[in-house]
């Protein structure tokens, strides 16, 4: 018989050898355990940078960041033994708990999703100690946009979760699911400046996810770079005054500083409080704002299209004089037979024609531009003349984008030859077919911004400067501003400007007259087939040293000489003098005394 003590010794040695081999396998050969160990303890955290702040032109803060705390859950790791006290801690019902949990689980059981958005400071303070008892739940600090003012929503825009389609299109691969991105206004336009650059940090955590240390002393960490601060050109006081004037109305006001192209005010009415689209408000209020029949999300100054109406006569005058088809003081007798007219038949010259807004005069002078008689065929002749005319019109910034630094700007429309060919057939149209363009009607469509820009060009006596809302980013001035001289003789502007002065002094714009202001401008009564005409005005002040160019459109408010000129004149006065002395005019605007007697509020809003 074998010595039994020897058997026992052998067993001890064999077991020790088995252990040594097994340990060799899991410690040296198999690398999975090392990876699993790092996955266990190394937590990758994305550190979101502070989004850039936004200031107005006098450096007062408009948009800032406020911290909020989202309660996150990883459903697979979640363990809530005492649902009742958990719900009590958060102030939710047990039914709500189940719903939220199911929702998170449906999204993913292993990925974190928001269990409760934006805990209030008090709730956060209360739960942060207790949360350790509920595995799978943690708090993610985040910032949301906050606003010191309840205006300018159309300029500022908002931020929201990046969309699936944007993620697919994002070639830089910067954005991740759940990231926030600027959606409208400067938040969108200046997204790459405002967002900064996110950082990633690797932390060593214990089994509860409590951070114990930096991983490898932060060797792999990248530090978040905060977004750049943006300074706007907007004069907050003027903007808010303009918003006040436009309250209850539908329309736009755009005020520019002619010398620089700075946008001083950009009002889209009706608008909304930007706070309504911040953080968790977004999902709550967005659907309402989007479906609201007054379209508060529609940025009218850049996106609404109206016929320019009589304001367009200023352009007509310059083009005709430039083409040499009419002299400034050339007297043209109108008999009122060519086109419908409010100005009586009689003798007109450029200044008077602008002052009195003579439709027939401009009908006649545009005919001279279009029908030069260079071809025998009236059709071919009109074609050549129109093409030239159209190019001149577009020099004034019509029918094209002005490249303002805000998203969603539209072209407007100056119909092309091809377009008319499509409607009437090639060489089947002549001046009589397109004559309504002569008075700024027909297919001509402009935005309020383009009209303000026109006023600025006239104020500058022929210089175009790109309108812009951002003055500087941090300390770097806005680089994307073009300054161009229009190809017209500078002396031509003076005739038109004098006519505009007379419009306000003794023409359709009389209501906006103020001796010391020296406002020059042109009213429009924009024909509206759907209801009451729109009231339009563009102009600048003071005449000789223009400080402000302004355009106003008030929808369904009738003649341009009523609402629009009043709004524009008040804004000019406010900017030039810092205050408004004409209380009666302000009341006239605020109380909507300009409305035709038979028009009720309903006709305005129902359009």
């Amino acid at each position: 018989m074998i010595d039994r003590s020897l058997i026992l010794r052998a067993i001890i040695v064999v077991i020790a050898l088995i252990f040594a081999i097994r340990l060799f396998h899991i410690q040296i050969i198999d690398k999975d355990y090392k990876i699993a160990a790092e996955n266990n303890v190394v937590q990758k955290t994305i550190e979101y940078p502070y989004r850039g702040l936004v200031f107005d032109n006098s450096d007062s803060l408009i948009i800032y960041n406020s911290p909020v705390y989202d309660l996150m859950v990883v459903p697979k790791e979640a363990e809530v033994k005492d649902t009742t006290s958990f719900c009590k801690m958060l102030g939710i019902t047990e039914e709500g708990f189940k719903k939220k949990f199911e929702k998170a689980k449906n999204y993913s059981s292993i990925l974190a999703s928001i269990f409760q958005e934006q805990l209030s400071d008090t709730v956060f303070a209360k739960i942060q100690d207790q949360l350790i008892n509920y595995s799978g739940f943690y708090v993610l600090p985040r910032t949301i946009r906050s606003y010191h003012i309840a205006s300018m929503a159309n300029i500022l825009g908002y931020i929201g979760e990046v969309s699936r389609s944007h993620l697919d299109k994002d070639t830089t691969n910067y954005y991740r699911q759940g990231d926030y991105i600027g959606i409208g206004g400067i938040e969108k336009e200046y997204e790459s400046n405002l967002r900064g650059r996110r950082g990633i940090s690797y932390k060593v955590v214990n089994v509860q996810g409590v951070i114990k240390d930096r991983y490898r002393d932060g060797a792999y960490d990248t530090i978040p770079i905060p977004g750049e601060n943006i300074h706007l050109t907007i004069d907050l006081q003027l903007q808010q005054y303009a918003e006040k004037l436009m309250k209850g109305k539908v329309g736009s006001v755009v005020a520019l500083e002619p010398k620089t192209g700075r946008v001083l005010a950009l009002v889209s009415a009706p608008s909304y409080d930007p706070q309504l689209l911040s953080g968790k408000n977004l999902s709550k209020f967005f659907p309402d704002l989007e479906t609201n029949k007054d379209k508060p999300l529609f940025n009218r100054p850049l996106q609404a299209r109206y016929p320019p109406g009589s304001m367009f006569k200023t352009i007509q005058g310059i083009i005709a004089m430039h083409e040499g088809v009419v002299q400034p003081d050339e007297i043209i007798k109108t008999d009122g037979s060519n086109i419908g007219d409010l100005a009586p038949p009689g003798k007109y010259w450029m200044e008077k024609a602008i002052q009195k807004s003579s439709n027939n005069y401009f009908y006649l002078i545009m005919r001279r531009v279009v029908e030069k008689g260079v071809r025998e065929s009236q059709f071919l002749d009109a074609r050549i003349g129109y093409e030239k005319w159209r190019n001149y019109v577009m020099e004034f910034g019509l029918g094209r984008k002005l490249e303002i630094d805000l998203p969603n700007e539209i072209n407007g429309n100056v119909p092309s030859i091809e377009w008319y060919d499509g409607v009437y057939g090639v060489e089947r149209w002549k001046y009589s077919n397109i004559a309504s363009l002569s008075i700024g009607q027909g297919e001509l469509l402009v935005t309020p911004l383009q009209m303000a820009n026109l006023a600025a060009i006239l104020a500058n006596r022929g210089y175009f400067i790109t309108p812009h809302v951002v003055e500087r980013i941090e300390n770097w001035p806005n680089q994307n501003i073009k300054k161009e001289r229009l190809p017209f003789n500078p002396s031509l502007y003076q005739t038109v400007v004098t006519g505009m002065e007379m419009v306000v002094k003794a023409g359709s714009g009389r209501r906006g007259y103020m001796d010391s202001l020296r406002l020059a401008g042109k009213t429009s009564t924009v024909q509206n087939p759907h209801g009451e005409d729109h009231s339009g005005f563009m102009g600048f002040a003071p005449l000789d040293n223009p400080k402000i160019a302004v355009a106003a459109y008030v929808e369904n408010a009738g003649q341009g000489g009523r609402a629009a000129v009043s709004v524009a004149s008040l804004i000019a006065e406010k900017f030039v003098f810092g205050e408004v002395s004409r209380q009666w005019l302000e009341d006239y605007v605020l109380e909507e005394k300009y409305l035709p007697k038979d028009a009720s509020r309903l006709t305005i809003t129902e359009n």
Binding site: L23, I26, V207
Partner: protein
């Protein structure tokens, strides 16, 4: 005079190995629970390592007391000590306090004590005493039965308390019985049953039945001419089938849910990744992440940051694996195996059967703890909560092992005198 004699007779190799294990254990307990945010010292009584230092000092005192006691005390009072601890175990069943799901603790002043740890010592003593008489032959069915009876009483009482792990340790006393001449077939049968049991867990039952059927048919074919062997083959087939079937029965009907999980998670740790399987997975991750040389003292992350459960008691081996790598683990295996082989050597040189049985009893218990504890941390055995001797945190377990080992060292020191008595 007597002390000089004693110090010369003591087996210092065992004492040295014991010292190595205790000190290494103490350092690893400190590392296992080390919190880099708090940076507490190893002697700080608010950390486990600080308390363990107190337990170690106390065990040194216990060793001294043991050496001063009369050498015949163990022999004379063996049954009394056994009786007292069986009494304690009964007492706990009636009213002990619950710790970690099982009631095996009773209050000992400020500290909790675990009588089942000491009952192992008492049982070894009683078995040694019973087999002291050279006329008792373990091939004799009566002697065998009484020996098993001595083991089964404390084993049953401990399992009834809910502490299955410690209960199973008593089974290790089959080692001295084997050494003293128990029929080796008995051990083989028990071993085969355990093997079939494990196979049942690891292999699909239908596959197993097919294999058994093929084996039996093959056996029948080979032994068809010999009816005696034929009966034997068929008998084995029936027994094996019965074992396989009973495993299923034991798993689903006898074991408690948490024990079922432990057994099943051995086969597939992904069964319950956040439950018991999680323990095994995390334990393997901790050890595996140590690599060849380990992450360095106090540099481990898996144990320190609580990914491994019970990291200073039952899973203390993970800390060595993680912080000291394969080198550290192998060193521990070597020290432990050397201690075990040394105990075999000491037991073999005993002149009295009492001391030899006692020595092999000590060996059985230490070996069971050592192999089962390490096997469970590296995923070779189900998780049964038993400590690594001299290493794991805990006063009563350290003291019980100290008493066990040093009673034997004391007996060994007096082996010549014992001879004179016979």
């Amino acid at each position: 005079m007597r002390q000089d004699l004693l110090s010369r007779k003591i087996d210092w190799v065992t004492v040295l190995l014991f010292g190595l294990l205790v000190i290494a254990g103490w350092l690893n307990i400190y590392a296992a629970e080390y919190d880099p945010d708090l940076e507490k010292e190893i002697f700080d009584l608010s950390v486990s390592a600080g308390k363990q230092f107190v337990w170690i000092c106390a065990s040194v005192f216990i060793i001294l007391v043991l050496f001063f006691l009369d050498r015949n005390l163990f022999n004379s009072f063996a049954y009394v000590i056994y009786g007292v601890f069986i009494g304690f175990l009964l007492l706990i069943l009636i009213g002990g306090k619950e710790v970690a799901g099982s009631r095996s603790w009773i209050g000992f002043g400020g500290f909790g004590g675990q009588p089942s740890e000491f009952a192992k010592f008492a049982t070894v003593l009683a078995l040694a005493k019973y087999l002291e008489n050279p006329n008792r032959n373990l091939k004799d069915i009566k002697t065998l039965a009484i020996s098993f009876f001595i083991i089964l009483i404390p084993m049953t009482l401990t399992i009834l308390q809910g502490d299955t792990g410690t209960g199973l340790v008593f089974g290790a006393l089959i080692v001295p019985m084997f050494r003293e001449g128990m029929h080796s077939n008995l051990l083989a049968i028990v071993g085969s049953i355990v093997l079939v049991f494990l196979l049942t867990l690891l292999v699909n039952q239908t596959v197993l039945f097919v294999v058994i059927a093929i084996g039996v048919l093959l056996g029948i074919g080979l032994t068809a001419k010999n009816p005696k062997k034929l009966i034997y083959v068929v008998g084995v087939g029936i027994v094996v089938t019965f074992v396989v079937k009973s495993v299923d029965f034991i798993l689903t009907d006898v074991l408690k849910p948490h024990q079922q999980k432990r057994v099943l998670s051995l086969v597939n740790p992904n069964i319950d990744p956040l439950g018991v399987g999680w323990n095994v997975t995390q334990s393997k991750i901790a050890i595996g992440s140590g690599g060849f040389t380990g992450k360095g003292f106090l540099e481990g992350t898996q144990t320190k940051f609580d990914f491994v459960p019970e990291q200073s008691t039952d899973f203390i081996f993970c800390t060595i694996g993680e912080e000291h790598g394969w080198i550290g683990s192998i060193s521990l295996l070597i020290v432990f195996s050397t201690l075990l082989l040394r105990v075999v050597y000491l037991a073999e040189r005993q002149k009295s059967r009492f001391a030899r049985v006692f020595g092999y009893g000590v060996l059985g218990i230490l070996f069971f703890h050592f192999s089962v504890n390490i096997a469970m941390t590296i995923g070779l055995f189900p998780v049964i909560g038993i400590p690594l001797p001299f290493f794991s945190y805990g006063g009563s377990s350290l003291w019980a092992f100290t008493i066990l080992l040093f009673s034997f060292v004391k007996l060994d020191a007096h082996r010549m005198q014992t001879l004179q008595r016979f």
